[in-house]
């Protein structure tokens, strides 16, 4: 298995507050890593650092062998990021927006129409391709957010709470999409829904107050305990 992401000793301070503390993990092709933690545990901060939106105070990130700080452009080429609020230009149509994203990620001009079409098909956006993003529902906007991250066919896809605010049917669709993406890409996604992790992921990473408390394969977890029980146990262990 090829290692796609390697994070070592990631630390991030906001002033004196330590948001992420000495976090190390790695991601390989075909892995879906579920990223869990209570509110404010440092999930979003970690994901932002992985995507080069935020510089770590110390530590190292390698994406596809490229250092995120020293070779940011090459590293970012292999990344697709869906932040918690999908970054959408609402005054554009879905087609225009995805074309722009493909251009920004350096997809060759001749391949852009095919890439946009593929992303739209995978995210179920074909019917709304010509509509303005502003007029679409939240579910569709979330899917455009994902389409934007996969249009350049990156090796790693990072999703920050992709299923928040969606109806049950849309959640299932997005989960199927993530599962499908996981076959050919490395996927990291953060969530609060534990059953989602159990169902989808190959690996789980739990952090508390910025530090890693569990990093394991799902099938290596004790079978008699549910993930929920493990999660609650880990969270309470720190409070004592």
């Amino acid at each position: 298995m090829t290692t796609l992401i390697k994070a070592e000793q990631l630390t991030r301070y906001y002033g004196k507050h330590c948001a992420v503390n000495q976090l190390s993990f790695s991601l390989a092709k075909g892995q879906i890593l579920g990223f869990l933690g209570a509110n404010g545990a440092g999930k979003t901060t970690t994901l932002q650092m992985l995507c080069g939106n935020l510089a770590p105070t110390s530590g190292e990130i390698q994406v596809n062998g490229f250092d995120m700080l020293k070779q940011a452009k090459l590293a970012k080429r292999s990344l697709g990021y869906v932040p918690d609020t999908p970054p959408l230009y609402k005054e554009l149509s879905v087609n225009e927006f995805l074309r722009y994203c493909a251009q920004l990620h350096g997809v060759p001009k001749a391949d852009i129409p095919a890439a946009v079409k593929l992303a739209e098909t995978r995210c179920g956006l074909t019917d709304v391709a010509d509509r303005l993003i502003a007029n679409l529902s939240k579910g569709y906007q979330q899917r455009i957010g994902i389409a934007q991250a996969i249009v350049h066919n990156p090796d790693v896809i990072i999703l920050d709470e992709p299923t928040v605010g969606l109806d049950p049917l849309q959640i299932i669709e997005i989960r199927n999409l993530i599962r499908e993406l996981g076959r050919n890409h490395g996927v990291i996604f953060s969530t609060h829904i534990l059953s989602e992790v159990q169902e989808l992921c190959t690996d789980v990473l739990i952090i508390r107050q910025g530090a890693c408390v569990l990093n394991a394969r799902i099938d290596a977890l004790p079978a008699e305990k549910s993930l929920e029980a493990i999660f609650i146990e880990l969270m309470q262990a720190g409070d004592l």
């Binding site: 995507c51 080069g52 939106n53 935020l54 510089a55 940011a72 452009k73 090459l74 970012k76 080429r77 990344l79 990021y81 932040p83 609020t85 970054p87 959408l88 230009y89 609402k90 005054e91 554009l92 722009y100 994203c101 251009q103 920004l104 990620h105 350096g106 934007q148």
Partner: protein, 250 residues
């Protein structure tokens, strides 16, 4: 380089998706056309007197120079409105993440945005230049002076836009960005006034005043010192904008 132009093209097109650019273009053109008309009227009234004078000011002096001067003042008011949303709105709508996660350097983002807004300003300056060109139907123009005016206004607006962009990087909200840009431009414009007080004459303030350099070029004296003033001005604020964006990631 290529990606910079992608951002620039997007920015330019986005400006025209909102009514703001259209409204500003229309109002600007109306006001300036009105002022231009007054100048032309002036010229036709003065013509008999001018004919008897030695070294009389030409048609270009009476119509073109005031037109570009007025355009400078009006653009001082308008530029902050056009530049306020450049970075600020991206940050508010959380779309800045898209640019930051793409394989782009911060310099490419800033310069791309800047070039996009310059596209609109080039259009504005172009439309303004059409007015004196219309005089060719019935008269002659001093093209040297016209080009000098064109250069002066282009440099002036580019400098305005660079401050506007910087303020948009700093401010958390477009109104504050517009106010900040307007305030700093206005101060730079009026610095020259205090330099004019006889006993408090300051070479430094006079040099910093944007108005003086603008008028120097406008009068046809194309001087390296004035041109480098504008180029330094623009580079300084672009650099500060890039630094500001860098700092956001730290």
């Amino acid at each position: 380089m290529n990606l910079m132009l992608v951002i620039a093209a997007r920015e330019f097109k986005t400006l025209f998706l909102s009514p703001l650019a259209w409204t500003i273009l229309a109002i600007l053109q109306f006001i300036l056309a009105f002022l231009f008309l007054t100048q032309v009227e002036n010229f036709t009234m003065l013509q008999p007197q001018l004919a008897t004078m030695d070294n009389a000011p030409s048609l270009t002096d009476i119509t073109v120079t005031p037109l570009f001067g007025n355009a400078g003042i009006i653009l001082l008011l308008v530029t902050p409105l056009l530049t306020m949303r450049l970075i600020c709105e991206e940050r508010r709508n959380k779309t800045l993440t898209l640019l930051l996660s793409a394989p782009l350097s911060n310099a490419e983002i800033i310069i791309g945005k800047y070039l996009g807004s310059l596209g609109l300003f080039a259009l504005i300056v172009g439309l303004i230049t059409l007015m004196p060109l219309s005089l060719l139907i019935g008269g002659t123009l001093d093209f040297g002076k016209l080009v000098a005016n064109l250069l002066a206004l282009s440099l002036l607006v580019s400098a305005f836009a660079s401050i506007g962009l910087f303020m948009s990087c700093v401010a958390s909200n477009p109104t504050i960005a517009a106010m900040g840009a307007f305030g700093s431009l206005f101060v730079l414009w009026i610095l020259d006034w205090s330099a004019g007080l006889a006993d408090k004459h300051s070479e430094l303030l006079a040099y910093l005043s944007i108005l003086r350099h603008f008028q120097n070029i406008q009068s046809g004296l194309i001087n390296t010192a004035d041109i480098s003033y504008f180029l330094l001005f623009i580079s300084l604020f672009l650099l500060l904008s890039i630094r500001r964006l860098d700092k956001e990631q730290l």
